[in-house]
Amino acid sequence: MFPLAGAVTILFWLAVLVLIVGLWRRARLWRKGRKARMNWLGLLAIPKRYFVDLHHVVARDPYIARTHMAVAGGAIAALGLVGINYGLLLYSPGLDWGIAIAALIMLSGSAFVWLRRRNPPARLSRGAWSRMPYSLAAFALGLVLLGVISGMSLPVSGLVAGFAALILLLLLAGTAELALGIGTGGPMKHAVAGLLHLGFHPRPERFTHPSTGLKLLDLQEGDFGVEKPADFHWNQLLSFDACVQCGKCEAACPAFAAGQPLNPKKLIQDLVVGMAGGSDAAYAGSRSPGLPIGKHFGAPNAAILPGLVAPETLWSCTTCRACVQECPMLIEHVDAIVDLRRFETLAHGDIPGKGPETLANLRETGTVGGFPHAARAHWAVDLDVRQAQPGEAIDILLVAGEGVFDMRYQRTLRALVKSLKAAKVDFALLGTLERDTGDTARRLGDEATFQTLAKANIATLDGLDFKRIVTADPHVLNSLRNEYPALGGRYAVLHHTTLLAELTRSGALTLGARDDTRPITYHDPCYLGRYNGEIDAPRALLAGMGVAVREMERSGLRGRCCGGGGGAPLTDIPGKRRIPDIRVDDARETGAAIIAVACPNCTAMLEGVVGERPEILDIAELVAASLEA
């Protein structure tokens, strides 16, 4: 019996014990959350979710993907072998060599972690995370030495005893990070929480198809959203615990970039603080712009706002989902924010800026601006377009959205009608029968108004005879396609760019080449791209007009928000810059003279940028103009 081996066996089982106790403690925190439907089968899906879905996100940063593969892969392999060889008292030199090799991989990975940490990007948290390369390297080195020394089966000597002491020391340090760290909320908790989170993900459908719609709130059951950490579902709390503070969300967040007091990473960390109780003093990442660190306190059953999370943080979010898109741990930040907004709105009615006025308008008039419904079809009064009527069958129902009251969007709609007519599409307007979809109300937390409006629209739509719905407003698209089904409204809904692209493919619409040679870039609306995955149709249309799009660095599914979503223009939380200014700067970098858009909100936001800027034109306008050519 080699004393080192016995010591490692003891250490191993001790660590397992510590881990179990730690996990138990951590699980007790998660269990403070509300019940959620338990899907144990999700646990079986963890490998696929890890190696496919999660890896898909992580792989966008190849450096850290490979590094993580080396560290985590090496660690898991080495620990597995240690468990077998030492936990089961096999003490096989062959397995020792296996441990050495796996640990060597881990060690090399740790070296790359160290390299990255030497000059880390601002988005990475420091603090406990900064010791990771060292604790991981210590552990890996300990295992390497353990493997080598034990594998060589050296006779006992003073030197070997010295090494044994060193190995134990190193392993002890590593075990502290791994086993103790997980239980005490150290960085390594992400490994366990992250894997469990994959198994019990609050939005499991995202692993089978894109899923972006907000969850229905059961108002009858008195569910008014989240006031305190314990009001989150337990698996949401678990998901927060999975955060690795990599700051990818922070780097993608338009509000953070604009200096508004929102940092999604900090928000998630605040929720972790709330779940565990305490203050944010230990947080070592970038702050929510303009807000101090160490002044926020929370407890599982204490209200999150305003003590733990500032209301301005909540209302800065544009719900653009860039954070969700970037999160390697697949955390659903936007759901959490909307959960919090719901309580603020439904229980307190406390919404900044023009929020209350807008919600009152929506409640009382079914329009964002408090306009008469009779005016909904004014934009088309001279276009000889049918108004949908019950009993009259049509192919396409045009649901315009609230933009009908805005003359800028009317231009887009008029252009769209021109193209639909040119393609001889059989269509009619929902027109005066339309009510706001409830998108804005829902994102401002007013679930009740959303459901009222949605039910009214569903009742109207169910009384009409159409095959498909088309809209030029991605927010309408998102509501109808992704959020109405939960209330029983199931329709085939298309964005206008999708339909126009389809019409060009079928030959119903022939695009002319643009004679205007000014360079064009395309801005992906969040609710079209990230929310609905449509990034190809607009580009296909532009290509069809002979336009070589000058892509912005942040485009497609990773496009940067215009600042117009989630009611953010209404709550209007001040920052250092305006989001649309940043976005127009993105466009300027491409040298584009025209920013093609496909959303009335984007149009309004980008056109609101003062001074010299590229012209903003909806794809519908470009298409209509190309028909003249």
Binding site: F371, A375, L383, D384, F405, M407
Partner: protein, 687 residues
Amino acid sequence: MRYPHLLSPITLNQVTIRNRVVSTAHAEVYAEPGGLPGDRYIRYYEEKARGGLGLAICGGSSPVSIDSPQGWWKSVNLSTDAVIDPLARLAETMHRHGAKIMIQATHMGRRSSYHCEHWPHLMTPSGIREPVHRGNAKIIEIEEIRRIVGDFARAAKRVQAAGLDGIEISAAHQHLIDQFWSPRTNHRSDEFGGSLENRMRFGIEVLTAVREAVGADFCVGLRMCGDEFHEDGLDHETLKQIAQAMSETQLIDYLSVIGSGADTHNTLANCMPPMALPPEPFVHLAAGIKSVVTIPVMHAQSIRDAGQAERILAGGMVDLVGMTRAQIADPHMVEKIRDGREDEIKQCVGANYCIDRQYNGHDVLCISNAATSREATMPHVIARSTGPIRKVVVVGGGPGGLEAARVARARGHAVVLFEKSEAVGGQINLAARAPQREQMAGIVRWFDMETKRLGVDRRMGTEATAAMILGEQPDIVVLATGGASHSGDVAGWGVADGLAVSSWDILSGRVEPARNVLVYDAVSTHAGAGVADYLATRGGTVEIVTPDVKIADDVGGTTFPIFYRRLYAMDVVMTPNHWLDRVYAEGDKKIAVLRNEYTEALEERAVDQVVIENGILPNDALYWALKEGSLNRGQVDVARLFAAEPQPALAEDLSGDRYLLYRVGDCISQHNIHGAIYDALRLCKDF
């Protein structure tokens, strides 16, 4: 929602109009011989339809009877079936752009001239002569009344057959129907005269016959006056009674209300309010009538911008706004309002060049927009050139130079504009100094903003020399250097000797006005009367002398009355038919020697100051300096220019030192603002 009232639709009978902006009935003077709308006529309206207007009511005063003449002012002739096809083309064109189109129908009674075409005997209820048109007329007889009522019905049928959206019957500006209404012109004792009920009889018979002819579903409107402003005419209260009665007949779908009678020179000037009148001076009359009727009310008179129109509509004063001159100045006004490009709207300033031309029997043209009514050849929207990009140097920032720079820049060329003063505008800036003429500056304002918006390289405060121009390596040089006061024309006036000063000296403020002033106006445009007004307004005792037959003889019919109102009120002595022979000094007085044109008798005036207005002398020094070196030797191919075709020289190789030299406006010979702008547009549109 911007402009929630202005841009909301309204339905008149079965016609849904997309917004509240109307081009109300006005005499266009564009109809082809026989009174038929032709290509020019249709394009003129099409441009407004394309530009977004809701409703156009064309054919101001289109007669329904052959004894109400139209030929001498090229109006539309509704008395013949031949009008149906061209009107149908007009209707189809307007509808293609989503606009609605109606036409005004009328019998003008005494309000015309007999001495053309068929030499008809004009007729009116009581045979009273119409002063403005020297409209001698007979007393209308009952048989003629019956026939004319039938003519209205037949005309309405034609309008309906052509596919127009409605018909407007005119009882405004003292046409036959309101000649019956007005005690000023109706002294009859039969069932068509005396009581108000009797006086309204003819009009109601007309409306009844029209309604019978077109059926219940066709839009029929009535245009009427809100107050004749004549002691012996119809006042507002009476017209409210009439309006209420007409509304209660349920024969009509809307009322269009204007202010002022129109049978004297002075009242006529109110009808198309010139810039001297306040904005929407008579909207209260329309609002008064709206208060007693149940049908929509339309009003047009100096409603010239979107904010103003929205305010009037939002205040509930009227239901539709006529923005007629506003759309003559910019037929794309509505589209620009809709698109939030209000700053790009070429605003009507109320210079009334349009209506003053019509007064003289000329076609309606806009002082600041040379494309209006020339849509076949002149673009409202300048397309970018597909040819080579040129360096264009424009010299002079008056209206001609501004238009040249604007058009050339919009074509995509690199344009440098030299202007020697610190502000653009040229002579318009002087014109705007005269009292009640301030709005002339509005013409400049648009060009100023547009040349900035388009990115013309404007070198202000820079008097260009030939060397500077050539230093720009131009491909094309456009001289728009305007002119200088031609007060030195006659040596005897003594301007060179300090015995007289020019109107420019006074208006620009270079010379202080004196107490007792003689203004000699050799050309009778707005400038002479304007400087007399300027001097009198500052307390001077002023006499204005001209060899023409009347003061301000070359000022149009809606503008000279404004000068006369002011000059008479300030006791300015008006002395036409006299030449200024010479001026000499006697003590501290200037003695002006006047010679009667017809008797040759000499008169003298002892005054403190003699002010000369004699038009301009072209500034052509740069032209002569640059002519020799230019490829085209400064020549314009006038045949091509008048045919609106590109100048042949534009096809030449302009590389290296080669350049073309052109001139526009007053620097060739004295034209007017429209002339300078037209010169520039027709030349530069092909650059």
